[in-house]
Structures are given as structure tokens and as C-alpha cells.
């Protein structure tokens, strides 16, 4: 597969390779220019269109339409009736049927603007964005996964999806809508500030580009192709991707044009989605969402409230401080312990005898040196009565149970005045046999290992049956014992450093007058203080995180090198970052950055504006009339279909621009025409000027949403993120790729869409391909769809839920049938339907097992509703 490279006189690389020369003619620019002497219609500027004069027809679109029909010697069909019209408008604008109430209101409104008002109401509904946003998501091949070998999730893609829906609902001018998707991040500075997050999120159009291979960075040239190809098709109706390997065969797009755009993408940082080679995603862009600002200030208020409470409870405890003044500790012994060392007291020879008074306290403290880390210290301590009952007290016995220590023993935090420590949950850190107490902060001051084995906690290794103290950063911690006797005792102490690291500890043995009374007062205040402490720490832990967007950012500007036959390992000459030659060919000026801003401006304000407007106007037309004026909506090139009425297309594109790119204005313009309001029929001809409205099937989403609406199960709240597994657990491979179906009862536009696994329902009913731009949905009719209606649990569930609703709200079968017909078809039930229903229920009554009422009636009606769900009147829009 050796390729010969030669430079033609015009400086464009010509390729000649054994395998391809038979089938691909490579155009030099000169040859290409000759072939395109007169610019192809799509590359010409919009022309001012004279409106055709048609007697008795006022509506401008209708004048084009009618004159077109007249030229074909045909006349328009009759107008649709009102119920048909409202149902059609409702599905076309919101993807849902009209409610019986809306239908009734519309039918009883005889004013001339009844229909325009109905259109306005639908355009104002959030459902409008959910319907038209989905159409846009088809065009931009939206998906929630990356599509490389293991199909890594893109957990932040949904923000782009929701922004698209919002942009439609807010009627964001379409030129801005397009500009933001290419260069929103670069338009933030232009303000206003509240638009900034949306502008960044909008670049998710580039962020959702398909990723390829085991190592997506190695195959990034394919991702660039996907992005360039999708941009070309989406905005310009041009297949620019073909020019990756060679100059376009038919359209005036050269390989230089392709690599001019390629450089723009190379100068842009795409978010890294994760892949087999490198599993963790990165380079997501944080955005400061307004709703987050609210959440953050609410969180801050909560935290401040908790801080106040904590200060109050601490103050109450601190108020007891003077009461400790009467108990000054007297030193008995002290020492310094090196890391890992141990010391015993009394040292050899000394007996450790002392005489105590009842109520007097001994206190063994462990104090931090310059660092408090790794200061875990084991304490062994016995006090033996020399006379009388020969009783003995020890730390080991005091903490033998995982409960509070035996009476007379205290654990004291010595940061300020002594403060009694509180126990954590009896089982600390889910380690059986480990109990712990804490002081002013929530870290362990005293740990007890009740087991016969060594227990590890952080850097600390606690021997069997050991009691360990750990000082805090600002003060020591002590175990204290109150003498119950007056008399002589023998005291033995051993302290051992359990942490090998750190800088050692200081320890002290002291005696002091009893502080029991003040500790008891303190104890009464402790629960409130502890609650305040826990509350503050819980609130602090749920600090709202910045929202992340699957958005792009500027990278170092670079020019691409031509890739011979599209092979990055075979680079040719460098091409400046530039816009396609056929519409100006502007070179991105030095110092301008990636060139995305120039690209966005060129599409919407520059030389490509008229084509962009034509392509978009055609998409809106297509969405309402079933076929575009250009029937190949992603291909306005020479191989695409020519416009069936070029004047109408130009006129509409001109209106779009004149209406400040308002899509809602375009919907109004089209839906108010007599052409759109005609009765439906299926007609052959391959021309948009059909005399009738073309009947259409519900889309996958419309079907699912309708069934959920009918059952009463539709959750109208917008969807948000998907429950993907946490990023730190991702280890997907091509052997075990990511694969999931996340179900919910929200509108279908919010379903998780995967690239290498189709969603079974969406695939069955021709939903958009998440791998490539889908300009028009298929409307297949296959038996497996009928099987879905017959046997899928979803259909059965919705039928039963709707049956339960009908049985509850309508007293008898006739009224139920009437309500069902209004909800399903937007009209009253016919007598014939009532008869078929009555006969059906009677006939199947023997098939339905004897249940108690109302369950039995619900079963019968579920069966009947499955019949209605299978009707063409439900599935098709007239």
C-alpha cells in the first residue's frame, strides 16, 4: 500500500496509490474549480425572494406552496378537523398528546386566534424543549458513553443534553445556540455573567465527540474526524469528513479544508473521557451554576448555624473552667519517651509507695512534643492497696469492657481545662473489639484493643488487650483515677510508644485534689456539645462540589499537517488553521487562539451564514412536514437532493435571520399555514409540496412517553445525571465493557444512551443513532415491534395502571371507554367502539380468572387497553 505523493502545480497534494487509484479520482484544486464554475446553489448567498401572488391566499408560505402545487397542476387537499389539528400540533411541538381538558378548551374556542393561542401554549410548555431538543440531539449524535472499545461512561454529558432542552425552551436565538456549541467558552467574557455556565456547557457538542480505540489519545485523529464530520453535517449540511483521506469526490471540500479545521480541533482541549489504556477521566470543566450558588449559600448558612451552636456549647463548658482552679496537680514523676521506646515507673529500687486521701486523684498524662502525629502510647498502670483489703485498681481492669470505664476512672482531654472524653460508637471504625474515646475533636484520644490479636488503626499498632492514649495537636490526654481509700498504695506505671514514627512523647504522673464534682457538671453539658460537634462535622462533609461539564477549553494553538490517506503516521505539509475555501477560506489570524471563535462567527455571521440558515430552516420544516425542502438534510452538497422549492427555502432562511434566529417564530410561521393544517394522507411524489399532511408514526420517545402519560406514571420532572458507577471504580475493558440500562419514568429524552450497546427499546423503534448524525428517523414497521406491543412487560404494566385509573375515575364501562378515547385519540368514543369494547369484555370475561372487584375489572380493562394501545390511531399522527 505504498502511496506516491506529488505536488500539483496548484500546490495541492495529489495522491496515487495502487489500491485506490482505480476507484477514487483525486481532484486537484484546479480541476475541482473547473468542475464548480457556477457555484453550487447551496454556496450562493440568499436572494431576496419575491412572494408569488396567489389569488385568495394570504399566508406567505402558502403562496409559495400553492404556486408550486399549481405549477404541477394539482390542488391542495381539504383542511384537517380541529381535534386532528390539535393532536398533530401537540405531538409535533411537545411529543405528547393533548390532554382531554386542552382539547375541550380548544374545541370550544371559536375565536380566530384559537389555534395560534394553542400553539403558543405548547411552545411555552417545557415539553417543547424535550421534544425539539431530542431532534437536535439526533443531529449531534448525542450519547452518554464515549464509544471507544470499552464504551466508558460520560457522566457529565447530561448537562449538555439539558442545556439543549433549555435553549429550545428559552428560544435562545439559533445563531447564539450554534455559536455557543462551537465556542461558548470563548464567549463568556462578552457577558452577561449568568450566561457563563451555559456557554461552557454548550461546548459539550464537541465534548461528546465519539472516542475510538483502546487508547483514545492514540486514535484522536478519528475523534477529530467525527467532530469535523458532525460539524459539517449539522451546521452546513456538508460531508467534510470525506476529505480526511482525499479531496472530496463531489463537493468542493479539499483535504486542506479538512486539515484546516483539524488544526482548530487540535488547538482545543477535549475532555478526556477515560478508556482502557487510561481509565480515569480528566479535564472536565468546572462551572458555577446559579442553582449551585444557591445550594452553596444554603450550605454555608447551615454550617454557620452549626458553628454558632458549637461555640455556645463550648462556652458553657468553658464557663466551668474556674472551678478547676482549686485542683492544682503536683508532679510525682515525668519522662521523655523516644519513638518506639518504653519506660517503667518507679525505676528499679524505688518502691512507688505513696499515701493518698480518699477523693484525691492520680493523673497519668501523655503530651505531644513538637509534633503530635504518631504519638500513640500504651499505658499500663496498677494501684495496689498496701493495707486493709489489699484491693487493686488498674487501667487494664478499668477498660476491660468495651463500655464506659469502671467507676473512679476518667479519660481527660488536657488541651485547656480537663475535659472528659466521650466514647465513639462502641465498635470503633467497624473493627470488632476496638473501642475509642475522643476529646474536643473527633479523633481518638484513647483506644482499647479488647481482642487477643494486634489491631491496626492508621499508623498505630495496638497489641492484644492494650490501652493506648493519643494526645491532640494542642494538648495532652490523661487517664485519671480517684482514690476511694485513705492510706498507703503502691503505684506501678509503664508507658510504651506504639507508633514507630513521630518525635516521641512526654509523660507525667501527678496527684491533685478531686475534680469529680466539676467533671459531673461538665458531663451534664456533654451531650449537647457532642451533638453540636457531630452536626457541624456532618454539614462540613457535604460541602457542595463544583458542577463539572463535558466541555472544551483552549489548548496551545497548532497547525495540523496533512495526513496522507488519513494516516497520522504519514504526515505531509503543514496546513494553516482555516475555514473551508468554498465559503471564504479565511485563515485564522495569528494570536487568535484555536480559531473556534472565528469558526463560530463564520457559521453564523460570516460567509457561511446563509447556508447555516438554510440548513436549519430546512430542519424545522422537516420536523413539521415529514420531509425537508431539501430531502437530504445533512447533505446540501452536489450529491444531495436539490431543494424542491429553492425560493421557499431561501425565503424561510431569510425569515429565520430576520426573526433574530427565533425558532419559536419559525414554528408559528409554519404551523399557521394552510399547508400544514391540511388533512393527512400518504402520497407518493418525492416533493415537499404534497397536497396533504403526511401521516407519521410516533417516534420511539413519543410512544414510550405517551404510554407512561396514559398510565399516569409519567414523571414530568426533568432528568439529570445517570447512576453510573463511581469513576474511581472504573476498569472497563473490551472484554468487560460498560453496559447498562437505567430505567426511569421520566421522558425518554432523559434515558441513558449508550454507543456500543443500543438501548433495546430505542433501537426497536428507530431512535437516533448515537454514533452518527441522524437527520431523519426511520419509521420501520417490523413484526418485532408488534411482539413488543403483545408481550413486553412495559406495555402490560402501563395498560394495567391505566386500567386501574379508568376503573377508579369512571363509574362504568361506557364512560371508561369514552375517557380512554379522549386520552388516547383526543376524541369521544364512537358507538362502534363501545360495541366492540362491550363484546370484547363479555368474551374475555371467561379468560380472566375469578378475582375480587375491582381487581377483576382492572384485569379486563388492562386487556382491552392493550387492544387500544395496538391501534394505528394511537401510533400514527394524522
Amino acid at each position: 500500500m505504498r502511496g506516491e505523493i506529488s505536488l500539483s502545480h496548484s500546490g495541492v497534494i495529489k495522491l496515487n496509490c495502487e489500491l485506490m487509484k482505480r476507484r477514487i479520482a483525486f481532484f486537484s484544486l484546479a480541476a475541482g474549480a473547473a468542475a464548480f464554475d457556477a457555484p453550487h446553489w447551496a454556496f450562493q448567498s440568499l436572494k431576496n425572494q419575491a412572494l408569488p401572488m396567489v389569488a385568495g391566499v394570504e399566508n406567505e408560505v402558502d403562496r409559495f406552496f400553492q404556486s408550486g402545487l399549481a405549477a404541477q397542476g394539482r390542488s391542495a387537499g381539504s383542511a384537517a378537523d380541529k381535534p386532528t389539528l390539535l393532536r398533530r400540533a401537540s405531538y409535533n411541538l411537545t411529543g405528547l398528546p393533548p390532554s382531554p381538558e386542552d382539547m375541550a378548551a380548544f374545541l370550544s374556542d371559536y375565536s380566530p386566534d384559537a389555534f395560534p393561542k394553542a400553539i403558543d401554549r405548547m411552545l411555552a410548555s417545557p415539553a417543547y424543549g424535550e421534544k425539539w431538543g431530542r431532534l437536535w440531539l439526533d443531529v449531534v449524535r448525542y450519547a452518554d458513553t464515549a464509544g471507544e472499545t470499552a464504551d466508558y461512561p460520560m457522566p457529565h454529558a447530561w448537562r449538555y443534553r439539558n442545556w439543549v432542552i433549555k435553549a429550545f425552551n428559552e428560544d435562545l436565538p439559533a445563531d447564539e445556540f450554534i455559536r455557543w456549541q462551537i465556542a461558548g467558552d470563548l464567549l463568556v467574557a462578552a457577558g452577561p455573567p449568568e450566561r457563563a455556565p451555559d456557554k461552557v456547557i454548550a461546548t459539550g457538542f464537541l465534548g461528546i465527540a465519539r472516542r475510538f480505540g483502546f487508547n483514545i489519545e492514540q486514535d484522536i485523529h478519528l475523534t477529530y474526524e467525527d467532530a469535523i464530520d458532525t460539524m459539517g453535517k449539522t451546521f452546513l449540511g456538508l460531508s467534510i469528513g470525506c476529505a480526511r483521506c482525499h479531496d472530496h469526490k463531489h463537493d468542493p471540500i479539499s483535504a486542506r479544508d479538512y486539515y484546516g479545521l483539524y488544526g482548530i480541533l487540535q488547538s482545543t482541549r477535549l475532555p478526556f473521557t477515560g478508556c482502557e489504556k487510561t481509565q480515569r477521566p480528566r479535564d472536565m470543566v468546572p462551572v458555577d451554576l446559579p442553582e449551585q450558588a444557591a445550594a452553596r449559600s444554603q450550605w454555608k448558612a447551615e454550617l454557620d448555624g452549626a458553628s454558632v451552636k458549637l461555640t455556645e456549647s463550648a462556652a458553657a463548658i468553658a464557663a466551668l473552667a474556674p472551678e478547676f482552679a482549686t485542683s492544682v496537680p503536683n508532679l510525682i514523676a515525668e519522662g521523655v519517651l523516644a519513638p518506639g521506646a518504653a519506660q517503667s515507673w518507679p525505676p528499679g529500687g524505688n518502691t512507688g509507695l505513696m499515701v493518698l486521701n480518699a477523693g484525691e486523684m492520680l493523673q497519668l498524662s501523655v503530651l505531644p512534643r513538637s509534633s503530635f502525629g504518631a504519638d500513640g502510647t500504651g499505658v499500663e498502670w496498677t494501684i495496689s492497696e498496701n493495707g486493709g483489703g489489699k484491693r487493686q485498681w488498674s487501667v487494664a481492669a478499668a477498660f476491660a469492657q468495651p463500655a464506659q470505664p469502671l467507676a473512679g476512672w476518667y479519660i481527660l482531654d488536657l488541651e485547656k481545662e480537663p475535659r472528659e472524653c466521650a466514647q465513639f460508637n462502641v465498635v470503633f471504625e467497624n473493627k470488632a473489639g476496638l473501642s475509642a474515646w475522643h476529646g474536643a475533636e473527633l479523633w481518638p484520644s484513647l483506644l482499647v484493643n479488647h481482642t487477643e490479636a494486634t489491631v491496626a488503626y492508621q499508623t498505630l499498632s495496638l497489641p492484644p488487650k492494650a490501652v493506648g492514649l493519643h494526645p491532640g495537636p494542642r494538648g495532652g490526654v490523661a487517664v485519671a483515677w480517684e482514690s476511694q481509700i485513705s492510706g498507703e498504695v503502691t503505684v506501678r506505671v509503664k508507658v510504651s510508644e506504639y507508633d514507630p514514627g513521630g518525635d516521641g512523647i512526654d509523660w507525667k504522673l501527678e496527684r491533685r485534689p478531686s475534680i469529680r464534682a466539676v467533671l459531673e457538671k461538665q458531663r451534664a453539658l456533654a451531650p449537647a456539645h457532642l451533638a453540636a460537634l457531630k452536626s457541624k462535622s456532618e454539614i462540613a462533609a457535604r460541602e457542595p462540589q463544583a458542577a463539572l461539564a463535558l466541555a472544551v477549553a483552549e489548548a496551545t494553538p497548532v497547525n495540523a499537517k496533512l495526513q496522507i490517506k488519513g494516516e497520522p503516521k504519514d504526515p505531509g505539509e503543514e496546513v494553516p488553521r482555516k475555514l473551508p475555501e468554498v465559503l471564504g477560506g479565511t485563515v485564522i489570524p495569528a494570536g487568535a487562539g484555536s480559531g473556534r471563535r472565528e469558526l463560530a462567527d463564520w457559521l453564523t455571521r460570516g460567509a457561511a451564514r446563509d447556508l447555516t440558515a438554510r440548513v436549519l430552516a430546512n430542519r424545522i420544516w422537516l420536523g413539521h412536514f415529514g420531509e425537508g425542502i431539501v430531502s437530504t438534510p445533512n447533505d446540501f452538497g452536489t450529491k444531495g437532493a436539490p431543494p424542491s422549492d429553492p425560493a421557499l427555502l431561501d425565503w424561510l432562511a431569510g425569515c429565520l435571520i430576520a426573526d433574530n434566529w427565533s425558532l419559536k417564530a419559525m414554528h408559528r410561521r409554519l404551523l399557521r399555514t394552510a399547508a400544514w393544517q391540511r388533512a393527512s394522507q400518504r402520497e407518493s411524489g418525492g416533493d415537499h409540496r404534497t397536497a396533504f399532511f403526511p401521516r407519521r408514526r410516533l417516534t420511539a420517545e413519543e410512544l414510550r412517553d405517551t404510554l407512561l402519560l396514559l398510565s399516569g406514571n409519567l414523571d414530568r420532572t426533568p432528568g439529570a445525571s445517570h447512576p453510573f458507577p463511581p469513576e474511581n471504580t472504573w476498569g472497563f475493558t473490551q472484554h468487560g465493557p460498560f453496559k447498562a440500562v437505567y430505567d426511569h419514568q421520566k421522558r425518554s429524552v432523559y434515558l441513558m444512551v449508550q454507543r456500543i450497546q443500543r438501548h433495546p427499546f430505542l433501537a426497536l423503534f428507530d431512535a437516533g443513532d448515537p454514533n452518527a448524525s441522524t437527520p431523519v428517523r426511520g419509521q420501520s414497521t417490523v413484526p418485532t415491534q408488534a411482539l413488543y406491543f403483545l408481550n413486553d412487560p412495559f406495555v402490560h404494566t402501563q395498560a394495567k395502571a391505566m386500567a386501574a385509573r379508568l376503573v377508579k375515575f369512571a363509574p362504568e364501562d361506557r364512560a371508561r371507554m369514552d375517557l380512554a378515547a379522549r386520552e388516547l385519540y383526543g376524541r369521544a368514543a364512537t358507538d362502534e367502539e363501545q360495541t366492540v369494547m362491550r363484546d370484547f369484555l363479555a368474551a374475555i370475561s371467561q379468560n380472566v380468572p375469578s378475582l375480587t372487584e375491582p381487581e377483576r375489572t382492572v384485569e379486563l380493562w388492562a386487556s382491552w387497553l392493550r387492544v387500544l394501545f395496538g391501534t394505528n390511531e394511537l401510533l400514527y399522527v394524522d
Binding site: 489500491l19 472499545t149 475510538f212 480505540g213 478519528l222 456538508l238 470525506c242 463531489h250 422537516l622 415529514g626 420531509e627 437530504t632 445533512n634 447533505d635 450529491k639 444531495g640 393527512s680 400518504r682 402520497e683 407518493s684 418525492g686 407519521r696 473490551q734 472484554h735 468487560g736 465493557p737 456500543i756 450497546q757 433501537a763 426497536l764 443513532d769 454514533n771 452518527a772 431523519v776 426511520g778 419509521q779 420501520s780 414497521t781 417490523v782 413484526p783 418485532t784 415491534q785 408488534a786 411482539l787 406491543f789 403483545l790 408481550n791 413486553d792 402490560h796 367502539e833 366492540v836 370484547f840 368474551a843 380472566v848 386487556s863 392493550r866 387492544v867 395496538g870 391501534t871 394505528n872
Partner: protein
């Protein structure tokens, strides 16, 4: 007629609403015409997932054994920049090869049953693929595209020829697990959805929603009432063939509920047939089950049946130890041989094409001679064709003395596809679909029919 159908489908693809639903009708009643008289009417495509080692199965290399341990140097995609692979050494096979049949084709002892069928097989020892990654190579073997989603070969054949049985899909995939590249392997992509592969997963409910959820008498009444309402609706909209097609699709679906389970009900198959496929009575899984189901599907007029052995894991990807090929070979060997013998004895092999393939071979070398596994090797591997129009008892193409590169008669995946389409009576350069500004083909801009394997 072919032209009419093409233009009809083209208008569909271009987004018109003219008769889109008719596709099922067209498939059902009036199968399209091929470009020239076909040798094969249907295909059974046996796909071994993970990469079957050619030098251990179909491609004997005595010099590889002789030169075992010898260091070799090459610029191979699987060793490039791979730590531990700075040096590579030839690695011999652990299995012996023997000539079989009249033709004397050598096959290793891993496939003793298939070895008995070599007189019916055209073995290609010179296959070559464009990618050494499972995902890309699997996608390429199925769609001709090694990166982008494109229609599967089964979808192309269905699109080109339609089906002969309205009650069954024209393209059926029997796979116990999801393969590499997921459902893209059987997707119709931009071809009409009627041509997408229908997945059958061996087990209790092989086809989604095929088991009636309602007792039959009740379902019949539901369908009768639905048909009555739909007929009334249609009467007010005369001439709408799409509405009529949908009405009829329910009848078809009702029929499928019976027909599909019947396909997978082997009770009337003899003990001898069960034994031929190495199948226990009542067994509903395993490759033997897939093979017998395939025969029953093509008997019923299904155009393209693909059997995937395992999926994206637990497959032929024996990096760790080539001995892992032993149970995998045992699992498919007898069923495939059984299928060939069964088709032959029933006369079905005369108009059925059987294809055996994998996404790539395995390296005849490794980073140490003692490394028990082998890596991915897309430079050369083996596949075979058998049945209608195929020159039986042939070996086509040759690798070099170590099985590393194709030495003679290279067959790229595109050529392999062109040959399959040719056997089905279709010119791969003329089986096109206009989409997004250009005519697409299964073979992209490549592909030459391999005449050396044609009878």
C-alpha cells in the same frame, strides 16, 4: 426490478415518509433479486471470538517448530513500545498436524472432527486484517469498517436479498454473550432497521418478547378486536399501505410466537442428529445447540445466520496459555463438523454457504520461547468457506515459513467480504446505499473476489 427496489429504498433513506413500512412487506412477499445467478441462497457465519491461533490449528509450520527459540525482529503492532517485548522469539506449536481426506489438507489435532470435513472446505491460510485490537478487528470482520459504526455483513445481505420467510427476521445472530464492539456487530446502522440482526440468546427465552404474556385464547381475542379497530381506521384512510403493513405485522408477530419456539424445539430431531452435533436431549445452550438451531433457521428461509462462539470474555484470546484453546476447540469442533455433515446429507450444503472465521490469528512468537501464550496477530490468519459455490478440498494462500506474514495470495477482510457477497450473487461494488452524501459499500473502496476458492 433491482433498480426499482434500490430507488425505493433510497427514497426511504433520504427521509421521505413514502411507504417506509413497506419494507417488511417487501422482505416478506417479494425477495429482491441478486445481481447475477447466486450459488448460495443463505449463509451460516461461524465467528470464533478472541482470535484463533492459525499456527496451532489450520496452518502447519514445521519450520516454526524447527526454529523454536530463535530470536526474530519485526515492527509488529502488538510489541511496539510494549515493556518486556524488547526481544521476541519464535514459538513452536504444541499440537501435531496430519493430512486429512482426499485432498490431504493438514489440520492440527485440536480440530479432529472438522479435519474430517476438509474435502468440503476451501481453507484460506492468507487472511489479513487491518487492526490488532479485538474491538476494531471484530468490527472490521463484521462491517468492513475498523473504527466507525457501519452496517453488518448480515444486514447488507438482508438488504440485498430480503428474506424468504415473513415470520422470521432475515438476519439472526445466535450469541450466548455480547461480543467485542457490542451490538454494532449486528447493527443495520444506516440501512433500514428491518435489516438489523435479531439477537437470539441461547436459553429459556431466546428472542425478546416471544413468549406470550397472555393466555392464547385471550390474546387471540385481543388481536381480533385490535384488527377490527385498525381495519375501521384504515377504511377511513384508504390506500395507506403502511397502516396495513402494521396491521399485518401483528398477525406475523402472533405467528412468530409459535414459529420461533418451534425453531428452537429440537424434540423431533432424531437421536442420531443430536449425536452428530454432540448435543444432549433437552440441552438449550452450547455451541451444538447454536449449530442445530442454525440449520433449522436456514431451513425456514432465514437469509443470514451468525453464530458467535462465546463473547468478549472467556474466549479464544489465549494470551496466558495456548492450552486454553483445548476446551474451546472441543466445544466447537464436533458441532461444526456435525453441522457440515448434516447440511450435506440433507442437500442443504448445495445452496448454503458456511463461513468459519475469527478476528485475527495469534503471534507465532512471544517475548520468551517458553511463554505459554500467544498475542494478537492480524498480519496472517486462517478462515474457511464451505458449501454452495465453494471449491471443495482447496487450500488458498500461504504464509511464510513461520506463519508470520502472508507469503502468497493475500486475502484481506474486504476481499473475504467481496467473495461472500459474490457467492450470494451480489457484486460488492454494486451493493450500495446512498447515505450522507455518498454511496456506501460493505467493502468501502476495496475488495477483490477471491476466485481461487470458487468452484
Amino acid at each position: 426490478m433491482l433498480t426499482e427496489r434500490r430507488s425505493f429504498l433510497r427514497s426511504f433513506s433520504a427521509g421521505t415518509v413514502l411507504f417506509p413500512g413497506l419494507i417488511s412487506e417487501l422482505l416478506a412477499g417479494n425477495a429482491a433479486q441478486p445481481h447475477f445467478k447466486p450459488k448460495a441462497k443463505r449463509v451460516i457465519f461461524l465467528f470464533m471470538s478472541g482470535g484463533v491461533s492459525h499456527v496451532d490449528t489450520w496452518d502447519p509450520k514445521p519450520k516454526l517448530t524447527e526454529h523454536h527459540g530463535k530470536e526474530v525482529k519485526m515492527d509488529h503492532p502488538e510489541i511496539e513500545n510494549r515493556p518486556g517485548y524488547e526481544r521476541i522469539f519464535l514459538k513452536r506449536t504444541g499440537w501435531s498436524f496430519k493430512p486429512h481426506g482426499q485432498c490431504g489438507t493438514e489440520v492440527s489435532e485440536l480440530f479432529p472432527h472438522m479435519a474430517q470435513c476438509v474435502d468440503d472446505i476451501a481453507l484460506i491460510r492468507s487472511l489479513n486484517s487491518s487492526h490488532s485490537n479485538h474491538y476494531n478487528a471484530t468490527l472490521g470482520m463484521h462491517t468492513g469498517s475498523f473504527a466507525f459504526a457501519r452496517p453488518s455483513i448480515g444486514s447488507w445481505v438482508s438488504y440485498g436479498l430480503g428474506t424468504e420467510n415473513a415470520n422470521l427476521p432475515s438476519f439472526i445472530v445466535l450469541a450466548p454473550k455480547t461480543p467485542y464492539a457490542g451490538s454494532q456487530v449486528w447493527a443495520s446502522d444506516f440501512l433500514p432497521a428491518a435489516h438489523q440482526g435479531t439477537l437470539v440468546v441461547p436459553g429459556a427465552e431466546p428472542v425478546a418478547n416471544i413468549a406470550p404474556r397472555t393466555p392464547r385464547p385471550q390474546q387471540e381475542r385481543e388481536l381480533a378486536a385490535m384488527a377490527a379497530l385498525n381495519r375501521r381506521h384504515l377504511a377511513a384512510r384508504p390506500g395507506d399501505s403502511v397502516l396495513e403493513a402494521r396491521l399485518r405485522s401483528f398477525e406475523t408477530a402472533f405467528g412468530m410466537q409459535m414459529e420461533v419456539p418451534d425453531v428452537f424445539d429440537f424434540t423431533k430431531e432424531s437421536d442420531a442428529t443430536h449425536a452428530l452435533y454432540g448435543l444432549q436431549r433437552g440441552q438449550t445452550t452450547g455451541f451444538g445447540w447454536q449449530c442445530l438451531a442454525a440449520r433449522r433457521l436456514i431451513e425456514r428461509g432465514v437469509r443470514f445466520v451468525e453464530l458467535i462462539d462465546t463473547g468478549s470474555s472467556g474466549n479464544w484470546d489465549s494470551h496466558g496459555n495456548m492450552q486454553d484453546h483445548v476446551p474451546l476447540a472441543k466445544n466447537v469442533d464436533q458441532p461444526i463438523a456435525g453441522l457440515l455433515k448434516d447440511l450435506k446429507s440433507r442437500g442443504l450444503l448445495e445452496d448454503t454457504l458456511v463461513v468459519w472465521s475469527t478476528e485475527f490469528g495469534r503471534t507465532p512468537f512471544n517475548n520468551t520461547p517458553d511463554n505459554p501464550g500467544r498475542e494478537h496477530h492480524n498480519w496472517a490468519f486462517s478462515s474457511w468457506l464451505a458449501g454452495a459455490g465453494v471449491k471443495p478440498g482447496t487450500v488458498y494462500g500461504e504464509t511464510d515459513e513461520h506463519g508470520i506474514r502472508v507469503a502468497r495470495d493475500k486475502v484481506h477482510v474486504h476481499d473475504f467480504h467481496a467473495t461472500i457477497l459474490h457467492l450470494m450473487g451480489m457484486n460488492h461494488e454494486r451493493l450500495t446505499f446512498h447515505h450522507s452524501g455518498r454511496d456506501y459499500r460493505l467493502t468501502d473502496v476495496h475488495g477483490d473476489v477471491v476466485h481461487g476458492v470458487l468452484a
